[in-house]
Structure formats: structure tokens, C-alpha cells
Symmetry: C2
Subunit: 209 residues, 2 copies
């Protein structure tokens, strides 16, 4: 276990490993080799061992990895051993689908606040019972509910403004679904989920690949 900067790709793969491991737990498998896990995740076995090596030693030579143990350890590395408080901004088609999605809750991601600018929506409750607040209460509510991550589901033209507000309210991590590049100050992490870029990749593949 050296003290090195960890590649972003490693973190993304760790997330993939947890999924495969959860599948193995469900299938009553107790031990897994890097080779087997690599097959399940579609990566190189050495890659897995190296990814894990950034954080310590988790395996037993000649045996492999104990599934439950490894799962626990990776979850702890990623910070999935605890619950996270999320706020959603923009409760339209996509926003509602996200809040309704029970997998997130299972993984420890809990929506504790919702915001929308539409006067017809403010004051209403989502299917989960979550109350919709107007954007101008973002600061107060986010602090009160200890929101740690913000999910942006508004049209693209408002995304930057919403991001600014969320940051202002002390939110340190943003998941942006709007098709636009968000500027955020140092120390704030922004992840983009961009469906149309993925579609464009497919279009290119079908055209040229």
C-alpha cells in the first residue's frame, strides 16, 4: 500500500466491483479470484489487483478474495458504509424517475429535499412523500437537512444558476443531468450524466465504425 494519487478510473471500477460482488453474495459464493471477478466485470485481472493494491491487501494468496469481506472493504473505501443526503432540483420527468428509484435508497442515497420553480409543483408532495420547495429556500433547507449532494434535473439554461445556489448552500458534490458544462469552484466535485453524448457515440459507431 503506497501513498499514491488514485486514478479516477480506479474509483469507477471499484464501483463496478461492488456490483459484481453483491451478485456473488446473492449466489452464495464465498470466495472469488481476481480472474473470476475480472470476467464478471469485463476487465483485466491484473487491473483488479492493482486497483485494490492502492488501498491495501485484501486477498489471500493461492485462494483469492473472501466475497463478503472484500465487498465490505470496497464499500468502506468508497464511503458507502453510511447514508448520504441528497437534494433534487427540478422535479420533471427525469427528476421524478430518480426520486422514485428504490435502488438508490438501498445503496444509501436518500433524497431529503426537492426543489422546483414551477408554482404548480411547489407545496405538493412526491410519491415518496417528499415535499417540493421553491428554489429560494434552497439555502435554508439544504443546511437544515444536511444535504451533501445535489442532483440537477432542470433545463440546461438554469443548471449553472442552480449549481451556484447549491454550492452556496454548502453542497460539495453535484450530479448534473442537464446537457451543459457546469463551472464550480475548487473543492466541489461535479459529475455529469449525459445521455445524448452516449447516443452520439453510438451514432458515430454506426456511421464510421
Amino acid at each position: 500500500m503506497k501513498f499514491l494519487k488514485i486514478p479516477a478510473a480506479t474509483i469507477t471500477r471499484l464501483s463496478l466491483y461492488t456490483r459484481a460482488l453483491e451478485g456473488q453474495v446473492k449466489d452464495q459464493v464465498t470466495v472469488v479470484s481476481s480472474k473470476k471477478l475480472a470476467e464478471l466485470c469485463g476487465v483485466n485481472p491484473a487491473q483488479i489487483r492493482k486497483d485494490l493494491a492502492y488501498f491495501g491487501q485484501f486477498g489471500v494468496r493461492g485462494v483469492g478474495y473472501y466475497v463478503k469481506e472484500l465487498l465490505f472493504d470496497i464499500k468502506k473505501i468508497l464511503g458507502l458504509h453510511r447514508e448520504w443526503h441528497l437534494a433534487i432540483v427540478g422535479v420533471g420527468n427525469l427528476g421524478c424517475a430518480l426520486v422514485a428509484h428504490e435502488n438508490f435508497t438501498k445503496q444509501g442515497y436518500r433524497f431529503v429535499a426537492a426543489f422546483d420553480a414551477d408554482p404548480m409543483k411547489i407545496g405538493r408532495k412526491l410519491v415518496t412523500g417528499l415535499l417540493i420547495y421553491p428554489p429560494n429556500q434552497m439555502h435554508a433547507i439544504c443546511r437544515e437537512k444536511k444535504v451533501e449532494m445535489g442532483v440537477i434535473c432542470t433545463p440546461a439554461e438554469f443548471a449553472q444558476e442552480i449549481a451556484n445556489r447549491l454550492v452556496d448552500a454548502g453542497v460539495k458534490a453535484l450530479l448534473n443531468f442537464a446537457p451543459t458544462q457546469i463551472q464550480a469552484p475548487e473543492g466541489i466535485k461535479v459529475e455529469n450524466v449525459d445521455f445524448s453524448v452516449k447516443l452520439d457515440n453510438l451514432a458515430y459507431f454506426l456511421t464510421a465504425g
Copy 2:
């Protein structure tokens, strides 16, 4: 213009460039430099020039790039000058949001078929007027409607089976929203959209970063 293998990251960035360029068109800007475009997209100017160099020469030295021309050229490279036929499988929370999303249509992605296993949904029409078919008609309908891309929005445990069926029906490109790794034969392109991996990245950042 050399004959080289083009990095996947280049294609993804080209997609980003089109967005920025569309914004510039809207703002009546006629010429843009790699420096300016780089700022808009949050990348390095040389990166942009290099990305474009894979496909030819599009700029004018001492001037920059003509916005409309470049936009047209990049769209052509990506295959966005034409319409694409998509099928969606799994018309639940997420699936409905996707079909309802008008941006996709604007960009030339048209949903021409929808499938779901739920007997309550089969035979009904979506808000767009799209009829929902049972999965066993996938082969026939996909061929009839000339479906080129499949969008998978079913629970994870059915994703692989759906992928197989779509491939069997002649679909060459898949966009998978289910949190699972899909195996597809050579020549089939699979792109995954994975929200929870992104959330895990944020969790790691807040925990360790």
C-alpha cells in the same frame, strides 16, 4: 489527416463541441477560435485542434473556425446529419422520461418502437402516441421499423436477455441503463449509462478526496 485509430475520448469531445457550437450559433457568433471553444467546453485548445485533425482541416489560420460550417462538419462526422430509429424496452419511470424527452427528437433520435413485459402496459400508447408491444414481437417490429439503436430500461436481471433479443433483431447499438454489464457479440456497440457509479464517485470524493 492521417489514417489513425481515433480515441473514444475524441468522439465524446466532438459531441461536446457540437453543443457549444450550437450555443454560439444561437448567439449569432460566426467565427470561433480553438481557444474560445476550449473555454466553453472546459478542455485544452490544442486538444480541440488535434481532435479535429483526425478528420481533416476545418479551420482558417489566423482566423479560427466558421461556427456553422464546423458544426455541420462535426455533425456529419458523428452521423448526426440523419435521423436514427430507436426502440425502447422497459417503459417504466425512466423509460417514459426518455421517450418524453423532446431534446432527443430535436437531435434526430426518434423512438419508433416501445416494448414492455407488463400486460397492463401492452397495447397502451405513450404520451407521444407510441404503441407498447410485448417483447416477443421485438424481432418483427424492429425489422419492420428499421430500428438501429436499442435503449434498455428494464430491471437489471432482464437486461442481458433483452440485449440478446435486440441483437437478434438486427440492432447494432445498445444504450443500457440497467446497472449490469452486458455481453454482446463482436460488431455490436454497447454504451452504459450508470447513475449510481457516478454517485459512488461523489461519495468517494466526499469521503477521501
